[in-house]
């Protein structure tokens, strides 16, 4: 009996070791897969030859020339563009999270007529391959400019407004799914205590769904941060450019692409996203604990 138990424990330990080993291997492989192509982008950023076709990971004449060109050019104020991007993306993602959380709460908790059709509409409207959106939105902001200048063309306000148009889309779906998983007994008991819908939402649901809010926030941030098409149409003056627009202009011309500088910019530009994600993870993981759900 006792020998048997000892054997079981030993095999459990062995199993745990195996799992750890497996995880180490998976981690190494996964990171290699994720980072490998990016290493080549890094390689291009150190290569003064301005080429993406590298044969060696460490370019022959490796130098910081591209980084210097990127950071020390007053006519291409890269640091400023990066700040613009962070500003626009942060505001957009915070507002988008609030807007979609409010909607998701209603979708999850109120069973009203037309609820599913509205959900479907929100989904379908987002998947419309709207290549003319650019033209329509340009004309729209151009008119809005005449009435509310701070939301018109060539303003960050206008750009944020445009980005927020998509706030309701897939985010609402994602959040609703998560909200659904929060047991209704929680709201009910709070209601019995006399809480209003708003109080239920703000005091009970909101803290519990932090993980998904953080996920939506991160997704929106990244999506906004890297958006080029609309930003390059709506932003005119260089001071207002976002990072993505500035970088895009380095490589969009045929035969005049500045791959080296672009690569350097892309890498530096990725840093804020990674920091944000590192921070957001505390929220993503730390939200729904067992105890809280059961209340």
């Amino acid at each position: 009996m006792s020998r048997n138990l000892g054997g079981l424990l030993a095999s459990k330990r062995r199993q745990r070791h195996l799992i750890t080993l497996g995880r180490v291997i998976v981690s190494i492989l996964a990171i290699a897969y994720a980072v490998f192509p990016v290493l080549w982008i890094a390689s291009a950023s150190f290569d003064p030859r301005n080429s993406l076709a590298q044969q060696r990971l460490i370019p022959p004449n490796a130098s910081l020339e591209n980084y210097r060109a990127l950071l020390n050019n007053p006519l291409q104020p890269f640091p400023r563009w990066m700040l613009n991007s962070i500003k626009v993306s942060l505001i957009t993602s915070v507002l988008a999270v609030i807007i979609s959380a409010l909607a998701a709460y209603a979708f999850s908790r109120f069973h009203f007529r037309g609820r599913r059709s509205l959900l479907l509409t929100i989904l379908l409207v987002q998947v419309f391959p709207n290549f003319l959106a650019m033209v329509a939105i340009f004309l729209l902001l151009q008119q809005i400019k005449n009435y509310i200048p701070s939301l018109g063309l060539n303003t960050h306000g206008g750009l944020i407004l445009v980005y927020l148009g998509g706030a309701l889309g897939i985010n609402t779906w994602l959040m609703k799914g998560f909200f659904d998983a929060v047991p209704r007994d929680l709201d009910e008991s709070a209601r019995i205590d006399g809480a209003s819908d708003w109080q239920v939402f703000w005091r009970i649901i909101f803290p519990l769904v932090r993980p998904i809010l953080a996920v939506v926030g991160v997704l929106t941030f990244i999506g906004t941060y890297s958006e080029v098409l609309l930003a390059s149409v709506l932003l005119r003056s260089k001071e207002n450019f976002t990072l993505a627009v500035g970088l895009w202009q380095l490589i969009e011309g045929q035969y005049t692409q500045k791959w080296g500088i672009f690569a350097a910019g892309a890498l530096i530009g990725a840093i804020p996203i990674m920091i944000l994600y590192l921070i957001a993870q505390d929220w993503i993981i730390g939200g729904l604990t067992q105890g809280a759900v059961k209340g």
Binding site: P37, A106, F110, V127, L174, I212, S226, G269, I285
Partner: protein
């Protein structure tokens, strides 16, 4: 049901809450009413409609109790109507117009553009000029005709022959040009350029003798070449007398002999774009092949990215893993780098001649996939690159969604003796699909139209031989059909492309709708939990 309990609570709204709501509405309405008259004055009707729809909608939602749930989504809905629905309506409208190169302006704009074209009628005078300007911004010209005669011209006054030193005209300098005219001082070259924005808009003299500045050297009796006659809705060429009647079905001003003026204008052409699409050789060609690949591509992308993303999310969901935060941050790296560089880097890595992946494979196993010349491998290649681009997104949302699965479900399952695999299939996956399912649907729809990857990786190649229109083996519906709209027709044909968009949307929407019906199932699962 739930809603009813809510309305019952309606009367428990505190007075301050109600006042707050009404105050908010008043502010919104006041704002709308402030802007509306200006918009009406400017005749921007579509904005008027948008503003009225949104404002009325907000009022109704906030005043009628039965729309209570919509209050929560009103900010999102308003923004969606403004920034997503309106552009969508714009595209649908465009699909029924001839909006394309050669027809991008409105009729009004075409008339405006044409009426700006000037010509010098036969025997029309042309002069060298010198400009004069008064302190208060009045202008005059000193004109020298080719035969040496000199004149003075003011806007709105007849052009008069004049000599320097005569009357109120100042004495001549060495070049024979007066120094001033009346109280107007002569402008030197630099000043002329400074005041050119004024000068180029002025017409000197009185009809029929009107002069305009044509260049820094020359002023001439220029006449508009094209004059619009609203009576016969036609443009008359003043130089030749030719009459171009508006053809509102074609969107051009057309003469009797069939000659059309450029530019043409935008008109409503009904379903012509759709007819053209259905008659297009593209539909006769390898359409089915392209369509099947599109579905395979979209579904394959969703499946592979979700599988990998979920796998990684599960692995790092265990808090006992050291450094998992940092590892996760590294794993989303593909999502943080602009895809237009990473796709091209992948292209480079997969290059058969110098790509690291291929040269390494050849070194060790003596063979490497022909990513760019074999139709099958090209498809696999695109999917692989798209997997790399897409899995971080799936990992992010899966990580978030996993947090919603209560631990105690697993504990209960463990007590029942369920293994890891079993727990995954019976608990994790079904519950996860509740929240992630719709995202998979939208990801499918997104990839259905994922132009970027296809275009940047291989431009749809390798090409298929012997097709009626150019097409490649990895072309998906959008890349294939948009090519028709932009590479055929008169350059960019936006009306036609919009029609294509609508048809593709109908296809995607149908697929999405059927997928959506499954989410009801998922939802029921969650409600039973």
């Amino acid at each position: 049901m739930r809603r009813r309990t809510q309305t019952q609570q309606g009367f428990t709204y505190s007075l301050s809450a109600i006042l707050f709501r009404l105050f908010g509405l008043a502010v919104i309405d006041a704002f709308a009413l402030w802007i509306l008259p200006q918009m009406i004055h400017d005749r921007v009707w579509y904005l008027v409609v948008l503003l009225v729809v949104i404002t009325l909608g907000i009022n109704i939602i906030f005043l009628k109790e039965e729309y209570y749930p919509l209050r929560w989504m009103s900010p999102g809905l308003a923004l969606m109507i403004l920034m997503v629905v309106y552009p969508l309506v714009f595209t649908v409208y465009t699909a029924f117009t001839n909006y394309s190169d050669g027809h991008i302006l409105t009729k009004q704009q075409v008339i405006q553009v044409l009426s700006q074209r000037l010509y010098l009628p036969e025997g029309g005078e042309s002069y060298r000029w010198t400009a004069y300007r008064s302190e208060d911004g009045r202008y005059a010209l000193w004109l020298v005709a080719p035969d040496g005669r000199t004149f003075v011209a003011f806007p709105g006054e007849p052009i008069q022959p004049a000599d320097p030193g005569q009357g109120d005209i100042g004495p001549a300098d060495e070049q024979g040009t007066p120094t001033h005219i009346r109280d107007l001082r002569r402008l030197d070259r630099i000043q002329v350029i400074r005041y050119l924005p004024d000068l180029e808009k002025l017409e000197f003299g009185t009809p029929p003798h009107v002069l305009k500045i044509r260049s820094l050297d020359e002023a001439a009796a220029l006449q508009p070449r094209y004059v619009y006659d609203p009576q016969q809705d036609a443009i008359v060429d003043q130089q030749t007398g030719k009459v171009y009647r508006a053809d509102d079905r074609r969107g051009s001003f057309v003469a009797e002999d069939g000659e059309a003026l450029t530019p043409g204008y935008q008109v409503f052409i009904g379903a012509a774009n759709f007819q053209r699409l259905f008659r297009s050789p593209a539909l006769r060609g390898p359409f089915l092949k392209v369509f099947l690949w599109t579905i395979l591509f979209a579904a394959g992308t969703v499946l592979t990215t979700f599988a990998l993303g979920l796998f990684l999310a599960l692995v790092y969901n265990d808090p006992s893993i050291r450094g998992r935060k940092v590892i996760r941050s590294f794993l989303i790296v593909p999502y943080t780098v602009p895809s237009f560089i990473s796709i091209l880097v992948w292209r480079g890595l997969m290059n058969p001649h110098i790509g690291v992946i291929n040269t390494t494979l050849e070194k060790f196993i003596g063979w490497a996939p022909p990513w760019f010349s074999s139709p099958t491998w090209a498809k696999i290649g695109v999917l692989l690159v798209n997997l790399w681009l897409g899995y971080p997104y799936m990992m992010l949302i899966s990580t978030g969604a996993l947090q919603a699965i209560p631990e105690d479900l697993y504990e209960a399952a463990e007590i029942d003796g369920a293994g890891m695999w079993q727990k995954f299939w019976t608990i994790t996956l079904p519950l996860l699909l509740v929240s992630v399912g719709p995202l998979l649907i939208s990801s499918f729809a997104f990839n259905f139209n994922n132009w970027n990857v296809i275009y940047l990786f291989n431009r749809g190649g390798p090409p298929m031989p012997g097709t009626p229109t150019p097409v490649g083996h990895t072309d998906i519906l959008v890349t294939y059909t948009y090519r028709l709209a932009f590479a055929s027709g008169g350059g960019g044909d936006y009306g036609y492309a919009s029609a294509i968009t609508i048809i593709i949307f109908l296809i995607v929407a149908t697929i999405t709708y059927f997928q959506f019906r499954y989410t009801r199932m998922w939802e029921e699962i969650s409600e039973n939990v």
